[in-house]
Subunit: 344 residues, 2 copies
DNA sequence: TTGAAAGCGCTACCAG
DNA sequence: CTGGTAGCGCTTTCAA
C-alpha cells in the first residue's frame, strides 16, 4: 500500500494529458511548454503529488539509499558518525539503512548481502573486529558498487577511506602518560588484525621509543571482540595485575574497553590514578562525570560521517568511473582529566 | 544497478521455461510439478538468485520494511530499543529504516512523510517532546498504515502501545529518596505534554502523598527539549538552587537531563548526595562508574523494542483489520547507588 | 510540443 | 501442469 499520494496517471487523466507529458513536465524537460509545466506542477502541488520512489528505483536501477555497516549503534562514537552521515545524505535526497555487525564476521557478510539485496546505491562500512577476509566486498566493488570505508578500514582495498589520526591518537595518549610521570604503560586494545589497532599501537610504540623505552610485550593485551564481552577485558586486566612488575598506567582503545576497564578498576577498588592511571579512546559525553573524570582521546565522529558520505556521494554521482582514491585523516582530540593526574 | 543477482527471466530462458512458471516454482506453487520446482530451485541456488525486492514492492504494494522514529539514537535507551526492534524485524524478514526527530515536531512530520513516501509497511514511533498535534499520523492511520507507539505515546490514539511502567518508575524513585531520608525532593523533567512526563510525575506525586507530603510547585521544572540543550537544564537547576528552601534531592527523567544534572552538580562542586542527592532515569551502562555512582530507574529498552515490533507485525500480517488494541506496560528496575546514600 | 509504447522484475489472472 | 499477458508507477525512446 502506498500512503503517500496520487500517481502520475491521476494527474494525466485529470488534466487530459498523457503520462509521458506529465512525467516530463514534472522533470522540467525542455520538450514541454511552459504552460503545460505550470499546469502540471500546480496540480501536482495542490494534490500533494510525490513520485513513488519504488517505481523510480525499479526503472532507474538506483534506489537513492545508502547502506551503513557499523559494529553497534549503542556505541556513541558510531551514533555520532551516523548522525554525520544522515546530515549529508538527507541533504542530497538519499536515505540510509543502518545495520550492525556486533563484531561478527558472519553478520557482516549477511548485512552486506541484505543491503545489496535492497539495492543500495553505495555502502559505508566500518569493518567488524572479526573480519579478515574481504571477498564479500571485493566482488561487489568490482561490479561497481561504490564503497567508502571509515574508522576501521582495509588498506589493501582501493577506494576512499576516512579515518581518524589513529597514530597520533595513540602517540598523544601515551606521551601524555609519560609526561605525567608514568613509566610502566600497558595497552589493552582490539584484535591486531583491524586497522585502528595497528595504527594506535604504532603511536603507542613510537611515544615509548621517543622516551627511550621499548614496548614490554606482556603489557599489550588484545580483546578478541573489542570489549564486547566483559570477560575478555577482565582477563586482560587480570593478566596485567598478575605481573611481577605491574603497570602503573593503562592506555585503552575503543569505548567498550575503556569504560569496562574503568568499571573493573573501580570494582577492584584500585585508586585511579594513584595505583593505576587510565586513558582511553571514548566518545562518551560522560567522560567528565565519570569516577574519576576520564582522560580520553576523542574522535570527530560526526565529521567522519559527513566526510565519508561526501566521498561516497562523489562516487555515486560521478559520470565516469573513479580510479583516484583518497584517504582522509581527521585529527583527534586529547582531553586530560583526573584519571591521569601527574604521578606523586 | 542491482548488485545482487540474476533475474527470473534469466532463469526462464536458461531453462527454457516461461517467467510465470519460474515465478510460481520459486514460490512453491501447487500448480507446478515437483520436477520443475527442483530444476528451477537448483538453478536458482546455483546462480545465487535473489528476488529483486524493489520489483516485489512495486508489484505487491508492500515493502517489507518498517519505519522507526525516535528522538535520537545517541541516547542509549533508544539504541537499545532499536536493537530489540531489529532482532524481531529481521527474524520476520523485515528491514528497518531509522529516523530521528531531535525532539523537533517539524522533523517528526518530515520523517513521517519521508517514511511513508518510501512505502513502509508499518511505523514504530516515540513522539518528540514538541509534538502536540497528531494529524500527521491520524490520516495515515485512517488510511490503514499500521502504527505502534512506544515509550512516548498518545493516549487518545487507538492503536497498540508499549510503554514502561512510568508511574511506578516515578513512584519508586521518589519513594527511595524518601526512605533514604530526603524530604525536599525536586523534579526536573521533560515538557508536560508528553505521556512519560505525566506518568512519572504522577508517581512522584503519589509517593509524596503517601508520605503525607504535597508537591511543592517550585520544585518541579520542565526542560522544553528534554535536556537536549544544556542551557535548559542549567536554568532549571539555577532556579532550584536559588530557592529559599533549597531541595535536598533531585529526581530527573530522561538520560540527557539526568546526566547533564550530574555534570552540573559536579561542576558546581556540590557534594552528592550530602548537599544534593540525585536519582534519575537513564539506561547508560555507565551508571556504576559515574561520580558518584548513580541511582537510577532503568527501562527495559531492548524488550520494549521487541514487544512493539511483535505488535506491529501482528497488524501488518493480519488478514483482517484489527480494532482491538492493547497497551503493554513493562516493568522498570530501580538501581540504588551512592548518589542517594541515606541522609546523615 | 505532445503522446504512444516499451520495459525495469515481479506476480497473478486466465487460457490452454 | 505450463505459458501468455497485463500491470504495479515511472522514465525514456521514438513518432507524430
Amino acid at each position: 500500500m502506498n500512503f503517500s499520494s496520487i500517481t502520475i496517471k491521476d494527474i494525466a487523466s485529470a488534466l487530459n494529458l498523457s503520462v509521458s507529458t506529465v512525467s516530463k513536465a514534472l522533470r522540467d524537460s525542455y520538450e514541454i511548454s511552459e504552460k503545460t509545466k505550470a499546469l502540471v506542477n500546480e496540480y501536482a502541488k495542490e494534490h500533494n503529488y510525490r513520485p513513488n520512489p519504488i517505481a523510480q528505483s525499479l526503472k532507474q536501477g538506483r534506489s537513492k539509499s545508502i547502506g551503513i555497516i557499523v559494529s553497534t549503534i549503542e556505541n556513541q562514537f558510531f551514533s555520532q558518525v551516523i548522525n554525520g552521515i544522515e546530515s549529508v545524505a538527507y541533504e542530497a535526497g538519499f536515505n540510509v539503512i543502518i545495520t550492525q555487525t556486533h563484531e561478527s564476521y558472519d553478520l557482516e557478510v549477511k548485512n552486506v548481502g541484505h543491503l545489496t539485496h535492497r539495492s543500495i546505491d553505495g555502502l559505508l562500512i566500518s569493518l567488524s573486529t572479526e573480519t579478515a577476509d574481504l571477498d564479500h566486498l571485493r566482488s561487489l566493488h568490482r561490479q561497481g558498487l561504490p564503497i567508502v570505508f571509515f574508522d576501521r578500514v582495509a588498506h589493501d582495498f582501493e577506494t576512499h577511506k576516512v579515518i581518524a589520526d589513529n597514530f597520533k591518537g595513540g602517540y598523544d595518549a601515551t606521551r601524555h602518560l609519560l609526561d605525567s610521570g608514568y613509566r610502566r604503560i600497558a595497552h589493552i586494545t582490539s584484535p591486531p588484525n583491524i586497522s585502528i589497532t595497528k595504527e594506535r599501537y604504532a603511536g603507542y610504540q613510537k611515544a615509548l621509543e621517543d622516551a627511550g623505552m621499548a614496548v614490554h610485550p606482556d603489557y599489550v593485551k588484545h580483546c578478541a571482540h573489542g570489549g564486547r564481552d566483559i570477560g575478555e577485558v577482565e582477563n586482560a586486566l587480570n593478566e596485567l595485575l598478575a605481573l611481577d612488575e605491574k603497570p602503573d598506567a593503562i592506555f585503552t582503545t575503543s569505548d567498550r574497553i575503556t569504560t569496562t576497564t574503568l568499571y573493573l578498576l573501580n570494582k577492584r577498588q584500585l585508586k585511579i590514578p594513584q595505583e593505576m592511571a587510565l586513558i582511553g579512546y571514548t566518545n562518551t559525553t560522560l567522560a567528565d562525570v565519570l569516577n574519576p573524570s576520564l582522560s580520553s582521546v576523542y574522535q570527530p565522529g560526526f565529521e567522519m560521517g559527513q566526510k565519508a558520505t561526501q566521498k561516497l556521494l562523489e562516487i555515486i554521482l560521478a559520470k565516469r568511473p573513479i580510479y583516484d582514491f583518497e584517504t582522509m585523516v581527521l585529527p583527534t582530540q586529547l582531553f586530560t582529566r583526573s584519571s591521569t593526574a601527574p604521578k606523586n
